[in-house]
Symmetry: C2
Subunit: 213 residues, 2 copies
Amino acid sequence: MASPVLDALQWRYACKVFDPAREIPAETWSELEQSLVLTPSSFGLQPWKFLVVRDRDLRESLVPLAYQQRQVADCSHLLVLAVPKAMEEAHIDANIARMVEVRGGTADALAGFRKMVCGFRDNLSARDGALEQWAKLQAYLALGQFMLAAALHGVDTCPMEGFNAGKFDAALGLTERGLTTAVLCPAGYRSPDDRYAGLPKVRFEAGDVVEHR
Amino acid sequence: MASPVLDALQWRYACKVFDPAREIPAETWSELEQSLVLTPSSFGLQPWKFLVVRDRDLRESLVPLAYQQRQVADCSHLLVLAVPKAMEEAHIDANIARMVEVRGGTADALAGFRKMVCGFRDNLSARDGALEQWAKLQAYLALGQFMLAAALHGVDTCPMEGFNAGKFDAALGLTERGLTTAVLCPAGYRSPDDRYAGLPKVRFEAGDVVEHR
């Protein structure tokens, strides 16, 4: 039986060489952006900023900060998933204000929810790096959803952890905003020169990673 | 223009009440399992075990360990995403053996790759909890991909961080295997009683989370 999801997951791979001449159509990218915005997150807190870097000069300047991996420059759209290093109560209140805006009701009626979320935040904030780490988990969830969405649209991606986060943060003006680069995902179209595109996919046998109870 | 991905993301929500009488058909679940196996990961290391818990008694016993959230018992299939707390070189060698099995060639030809991955592992292992944390990021990527795949199949899910990991590890026999529970994802079908199903989705405005450079 045909399965678009499995077909897309078999088709996709971590693209090593993008075709710099090919652009993702605006309508397709708009859908992918909307899918990013719709990503679920813990308590609905959406602890992220999604940077879409298209400026060619800026992207060329990022290549040395990504260990010379040219995907950041040669892709069509460079997605940078950034997360906050800390979370102010103002962020929680902005989320509650948005809940009221979308669903009606009052912020007062959400006081119990607010108290729970603030307690969650306080708990994370008390441990060094824990809030940033939690936010990164949410960003990776967004990444997993994004890559499948992209593949279903025939868009190639390459998840990249190999970069100097401090230098990326500085280059993108994130440092002074209390944000840091969690992970990168260049998106675009594979080059016919990418020999990795044709290699069979390597995964452990299902029996080695899936267990039934 | 119709977008199956956006339709699925608008349709999905964090299901609070599953219909315990409804089961995911075997063929659908098989596809979702295959999609889990196909999840990309850093260096292709697949640092995870996906537990599919169907036993009713076991799942009832997990409810108190998940702060009385009945989704773990009332869903059709409880997916537990578990990760290793440490990684032996044997795991890296198993991955390389699988590469040779699938793609041909020899392990010797992958000596450079092996050295790089071992260095990566050594670096993570030197910092307390860093390898587990890295593995959790990969598990969340799997979770994001899984939830979109499920939604595209009309299957409801609920990502859950609210559980006692130590007690889950003990109940599922993970502790002695050096594994720990990263995150839960009950899957099945929403109950008509779940009032959350009808609520408008709350997300920040695209302009607040997506930035263009």
